[in-house]
Subunit: 347 residues, 3 copies
Amino acid sequence: MKFTASAIAKLLDGHIAVGNKDIEVSSFAKIEEAGVGQITFLANAKYEPYLYSTKASIVIINNSFEPAEQVNATLIKVKDAYTAVAYLLSFYDTQKREQLTGVEEDTIIHKTAQLAPDVYVGGFTYIAKGVIIGEKSKIFPQVYIGENVVIGSNTCIMPGVKIYDNTIIGNHVIIHGGTVIGSDGFGFVPQSDGSYTKIPQIGNVVIEDYVEIGANVCIDRATMGSTIIKKGTKLDNLIQIAHNVEIGENTVIAAQAGISGSTKVGKNVRIAGQVGIVGHLSIADNTTIAAQSGITKSITEVNTTLMGAPASNHYEALRSQAALRQLPDLLKKIREMEKKIESLLIL
Amino acid sequence: MKFTASAIAKLLDGHIAVGNKDIEVSSFAKIEEAGVGQITFLANAKYEPYLYSTKASIVIINNSFEPAEQVNATLIKVKDAYTAVAYLLSFYDTQKREQLTGVEEDTIIHKTAQLAPDVYVGGFTYIAKGVIIGEKSKIFPQVYIGENVVIGSNTCIMPGVKIYDNTIIGNHVIIHGGTVIGSDGFGFVPQSDGSYTKIPQIGNVVIEDYVEIGANVCIDRATMGSTIIKKGTKLDNLIQIAHNVEIGENTVIAAQAGISGSTKVGKNVRIAGQVGIVGHLSIADNTTIAAQSGITKSITEVNTTLMGAPASNHYEALRSQAALRQLPDLLKKIREMEKKIESLLIL
Amino acid sequence: MKFTASAIAKLLDGHIAVGNKDIEVSSFAKIEEAGVGQITFLANAKYEPYLYSTKASIVIINNSFEPAEQVNATLIKVKDAYTAVAYLLSFYDTQKREQLTGVEEDTIIHKTAQLAPDVYVGGFTYIAKGVIIGEKSKIFPQVYIGENVVIGSNTCIMPGVKIYDNTIIGNHVIIHGGTVIGSDGFGFVPQSDGSYTKIPQIGNVVIEDYVEIGANVCIDRATMGSTIIKKGTKLDNLIQIAHNVEIGENTVIAAQAGISGSTKVGKNVRIAGQVGIVGHLSIADNTTIAAQSGITKSITEVNTTLMGAPASNHYEALRSQAALRQLPDLLKKIREMEKKIESLLIL
């Protein structure tokens, strides 16, 4: 896809301040790396020197910015360069993805599956019986979709995702490569001889609209009922969501965090990387949990920040950390105090 | 699959206390969510109100239970409702899986591979030369099975699992989606110029009977010899098992735990989520390790519980944690004591 | 592949000290497990008793070693048995892999893709448009290679790896099963209603020569520009590398570690398992980070060792840990001191 400066200016509600309105670009790059046929932007004054040396064909700048030297690139002025670029990239991504449509060769699609006519299905993807996929959804190569899975519209399932039977996925969802949705929850009954008997896991996973899930994530099916990821929630890579967990709306969870079985996480919660949360807890709305924390108790008060393993209120945790750093010196001081006391007692 | 109330009552060694012996069900649900054509159960008195409003066609209840109000569902009475349901679900799962048999279209199976006649092989699965697969095993779509892999009977390999050359897998094993078995152990020799030379990893992985492995787990092949997961052991999702590790019988390991190279874990050990164990250790039988613990020394005494990073006996760990919480106040107190001592010294 | 004792002796620059120069072996094993037709080695005196009982056909030993008893195996003497075996295994691995060549049935390769004539492509692998793959590279089954990906020569992509558009991979790289390269970085802008808007991630991933990456690793594409893994760096399994991270040459990272967005890790760094590093930091060359550490500040001094969460210099961390273990006893002692002071004040 190629775009002219004038088409981009129009799209961004901007104007061409300097240069050639017909010049074409086909890709993006950072201002210090951009070359001919590429578009870039300048939003941070720190990078201004690059404006005068860049080989980019087009640079997007703020209306308020006046170049101090000569510029070879075509300049498009907009209200806010950073926001304009984000919009432009999003537009480009969408355009590119929109073009994907139709079923490629070498797919297996069960005759009972119902796919909207414009759905894209990549090669080596396997779609089992009873599956329903809504319009404009894109299923990339090598995806597995088990029996009776329902996928909404405008949803994008990236290469190699594995979705077990009966999973329900909403609209405008993105799931990245290697993620497994609906594998058995980890439930076993210990027997008197030390062995374990499996508890059948016959629930499913429900993923609501506008959820994004990273790569190599695991979301287990419920024992009964559903493991639920609510609307607008974003999960990073390598996250573990155990059976019967519920995660509220617009919660963000960073990479390698793990949430144990039956825990309910509220909405607008922020969970940093490598956090662990034990099972059967409730985490209140708007909670913030610092990286590597271990949550062992329910959080009942909204808007709190937790830290540490086991986690406490982050002011307390910081106080404990600071105190711990003083501890070796404290040991010395106490030995001195002891001597003084002994000398007093001798008197 | 549909089942009548009378067939289910017979299977569970129960009887129909109320309702229609010919009513049919085809799926399960929680009592608060069940609808027509579904079966559910009541084991916990807390849920009794739902019994009188449920739309389920059949409810399984304890022999000892007498409804206080009118019930629309057909009631099957059994000795223990919870156990009966677990048995029923397991039966249902088994029935459903038993039906899977035969080789689907679009598979690659080397001509030297030996598959029992009733083995199921899903589409896009790749089976290399010399592979042997025992009777009633199910290999789901998009699985990779490398050269000379041996898989026993009644084993289930879920979609997208990757099994490298020479792996040996027993009977009644379950391996979930995305798991990688037999990738190279992480072994490199530092060179004088700062670079690393790879140590070839030519061992294999052995997985014994009745082992269950979650999704996106990694089990590395041994440098020489075997990485071994013994009979009845259960691994959750996203676990790392390094080269030459041995894990004893009936051990359970929760999600995101990692065990470093050459460590030997005993039998009936319980390892919680996100635990890390360093290499070349021995962990005694019946050890329990709390979540996020870091194990840096061998555990030689059986039946101990460890906690913390670095881990200690969990009584000590809890004592240290409690003491740490008192530390900031302690610092204040010591400052006061110092003043008092100074005042005494001045006297 | 079979090799005679004399061929192996020649390859290793050794000589046959005892036995039959024509005896053949086809595989390797540990000395305590080796059987007929296998080769093994003795480097550690602890294993000497096995030399006299082994069923191995050939044993490699040091020039300096003289057997104290009769040996049935053919003995090859070399300067250093351990190094010789490592070399031999590497040679064997290379020989075996070299034989893989050609495109298997059931692959999808876009007509614009350019593959060197001797490239191996396994079944069910998908290669999108504009892809370039260099000579002697091996692409195993079920791999996904997105648009415009460039892969160098002698590189090995194991089964089920997913490589997103525009990724650049060098020569002599190994990537293990299930790893995802180039998925979207985790970037969202919070909106006033609590929801999040996705920041398009349009950068790529660059992996330089001689890098090895374990199984089920995630390396996210940059927002703009590139996420870079430099020459000779080795990553273990289940590692998270976020967008815009740069990792220097010859750095080793153990399993389940995670590096947050835009952090720059130096060269010759050693990062142990389950370490977490927050975003936008710099880690100096030659830093060593102990397992499970949490790095919250940039490391500016080279050659330091860090430990703990939050991490500090490992001497300080060990001092704090030791002090923490004394803390419960300290609390008792302070209570006693208080009493003594009170008694003095009363005097």
